[in-house]
Amino acid sequence: MNAEILGVVVTFLLSVALAVPLGRYIAKVFAGEKNSTDFMGPLERLIFRFCGIDPTKKMDWKSFLKALLTVNLVWLVYAFVMLLVQNRLPLNPDGNPGQTPDLAFNTAISFLVNCDLQHYSGETGVTYLTQLAVVTFLQFVSAATGIAALVGLLNAIREKTTNNIGNFWLFFIKSLTRILLPLCIIWAVFQVFNGTPASFAGKDTIVTLQGDTVNVSRGPAAGMIAIKHLGTNGGGWFGANSAHPLENPSYFTNMLQLIGQTLLPMAMIFAMGFYIRRKKLAWVIFGIMTIGMLCLLVPTVVSEVHGSPAIARLGVSQSTGAMEGKEVRFGPASTGYWSIITTIISTGSVNSMHDSSMPMSGLMQMLGMMINAFYGGCGVGILNYFIYIIIAVFISGLMVGRTPEFMGHKVEAREVKIAALVTLLSAFLIKAGAALAAYFVAHHPDMAWSVKPSGWLNNPGYHGFSEMLYEFTSSNANNGSGFEGLGDNNIFWNVSTGIVLILARFLPIIGPVAIAGILANKKYIPESAGTLKTDSLTFGAMTFAVILIINALSYFPALALGPLAEYFSM
C-alpha cells in the first residue's frame, strides 16, 4: 500500500480509536456521573450564578427549544452589529473595513448556524476582534447548541414516558466546559508547535529571496483553527482555509485537523449508545454511516489519484495526481479523503479548492452534503439520521402491516408528517435556490448588483451550474464549503443563502426534538416478539435504502445537469 493511502487509513482508524472512549466519557458527563473533568464544576456554578440560571430546573421540549432559540437570536443580533462596525473597534491592525449590511447578515447567520459559509476573505473581511469575539465565539456556542439539542433528544428516548427532556442551559455549558474547551486547548497547542501563528502581530512585510516585496497575513489563528474543526464549523482564519500553509502547515497538522473534525460526530454516536443503554444500536448506526462514507470516498480518491483526463491529454506526468487547487504536502489521496469528510460532516473547511476537483469528486461532495447524515455535524448529524430512522420505521411498519414503533412508543401521523416536512424542505431549498440563481444568470445577466449575474460564474457550461448548485447545497447542509469561484459577495447570494441557512439549521433541530418530545409523552409499550427491532442489521439496511431512495429521487436530475454531465463530457 502506498504512503498516501496508508495515511488515509491510519487517520480514519485513529479517529475511531479516539471516538469510542470519548463517547463513553461524554455519556458520563451528561448522565451526571463522576468523571475526570469534575474540576470544572466551580467554573460552571460561577457561570450559572452570574446568569441567574437554575441548572437543575426541568424543561419540557417546548421550553427547551424556546431557551435554545432565544439565546441564538441574541447571538444573531450581536454578531450582525459587531461585523457592521468592526472598523471602528479595536484590534484591527490591518485596517480592514466594516462589512456591508448584506454581507454582515450572511456572515452572522452563517457562523450562528454552524455553517461558516464565508463570502469574505479572512485576511481582509474581518478584524482580529471579530475573528475572536464573533467568529471564534460563535464557533464554540453553535457547536454546543448542536450537542445540547442532541442530548435533549436522547433524554426523550432514554426514558419510558416523560415530559422532561433536561435543562438546555446545563447541557449547553457542559458541552463547552467539559468537551469543547479541553479538546480545543490540546488541538491548538499542537497547531502552534507545528507552525500556526497565535500572536496578535499584524501583517508582516518582507523582501523575498528573489527580491519581490510581499505581505504575510498572520494573527491569533491557532485557537480558532482548533474549534473550527472540533466544533465541525469549518470557517477558516485565512481565505484559503486549511489549504493555507499557516493554517495547516504539514501532513501532521492535516491528520490532526481531519481527526479533529471527525472526532465529535463519531463520539456522539457512541455516546448515544452508552447514554440510552443501546450499544448495539450505536454500532449499527456507525456501521451504516461508515458504509455510506466509503461509497462516497472510494470514487473520489480513485479519481483524484488517477488525475484529470484533460490534463493527461496535454501530455504531462500525473504521477502526483490531479493537482489543480491542491497542496503538495497533502497529496491527492488525503485531499480526496478530506473533501468527503468535510462534506458528510457539515464542517466545510477545505484543504483544496473543491471547484477544481474532478467531476466525480464534486458529485460525491455534493451528495455527502445532500444526505448530511453520515456521521454529520456536531450533534446535529444524529438528529438528521433520526429523521431518516423515523421514515424507515414508518415504511417498515407499512410493509409488515403493524403500527410503527420506535423505542417503545407508537410513531403516528403527526411525527411522520414532521419528519417528511424536514426531508422535503432540504430538497426544496436546494433546488429552488439553484433554479432561481440559474434564472438570473440566463435571463437577467445585467442586474445592477455589485457582482452582475453574468459575472457570477468562474467556469462555463455544466461546471458553472455546479457552482450554483453547490452553494445552495452547502448552505442547506450548514456545511460552508463552496465552489469558491462563484462571485458570491453580493446581495443576491448573501440574502438568499442567509435565508436558506437559517431555515436549514433550525427546522432540522426543532423537528427531531419535537418528534422525540412528542414520542416521550406517549404511553410506553414494552417490547414483544412483534416489535420491529431498530438495532438489527436488517433495519440498518432498511434505513440505508430509505436514505438512498429519498436522495436519489430528490437530487438526481439536478446532479445530472451539473457534475454528471461534466463527467461524461470529459
Binding site: 475572536l132 508582516d204 498572520r218 487547487g325
Partner: protein, 187 residues
Amino acid sequence: MKKYLLPSIKITVACLVLFAGIYPLLIAAVGKLAPGGGDGEKVMVNGKVVGYANIGQKFTADKYFWGRPSAVDYNAAGSGGSNKGPSNPDYLKTVQDRIDTFLVHNPGVEKNEIPAELVTASGSGLDPDISPEGAYVQITRVAAARKMPAAAVRQLVDASIRKPLLGMLGPSKVNVLKLNVALDKLK
C-alpha cells in the same frame, strides 16, 4: 421567550469572556514558547529575513528552482486557488502555456517528465513545496544557469527531500525556498 432573554444575554457575556478573551490569550501565551514565537517561523540569511518557512515564494530566474503557479502571485496578504474547473477550456489553454514556457526554459526535458503540480496552481496560492520529481526535472537548468556540476545540485536536492511522516504517511516533498537558500549558500 421573554423569561429566557436576560439569562441569554448574561450567558453570552460569560462565553465571550471565556472564548474570545481567556482562550485566545492562553493560546497566544503558549505560542511564545513555539518556534517562531507564535508569529510564524521565519527563514534568515545573514541575519536578514528572506521569508517564512511555510509560505512559498515566486521564483522566475533560471538559477532558482521554481515553485508552483499561484493564483495570488505568492503575495500572502491574501490566499486562494484559481478555482478553475477541470473541463474549462480557457484553463486548459493556460496550462498548455505553462507547459510551453517550462519547455523553453528547460531544453532537453520531455513533456511527460513534467509533473502536473509544476503547471497547475495550488489551493492556497502559497504552496511552499514541490514533489521530488518536480525538483529533479529542473536540475539541468539550475546547474547550467549557475555553471555548477549537475551532480552537486542533484546531491543538494536529494538532501532537501522531506520524507513522509514517520517514513510512511503521506507524500514526499521539497521546500522550494529552503532548497534555493541552500543553493545560494553553495555558491
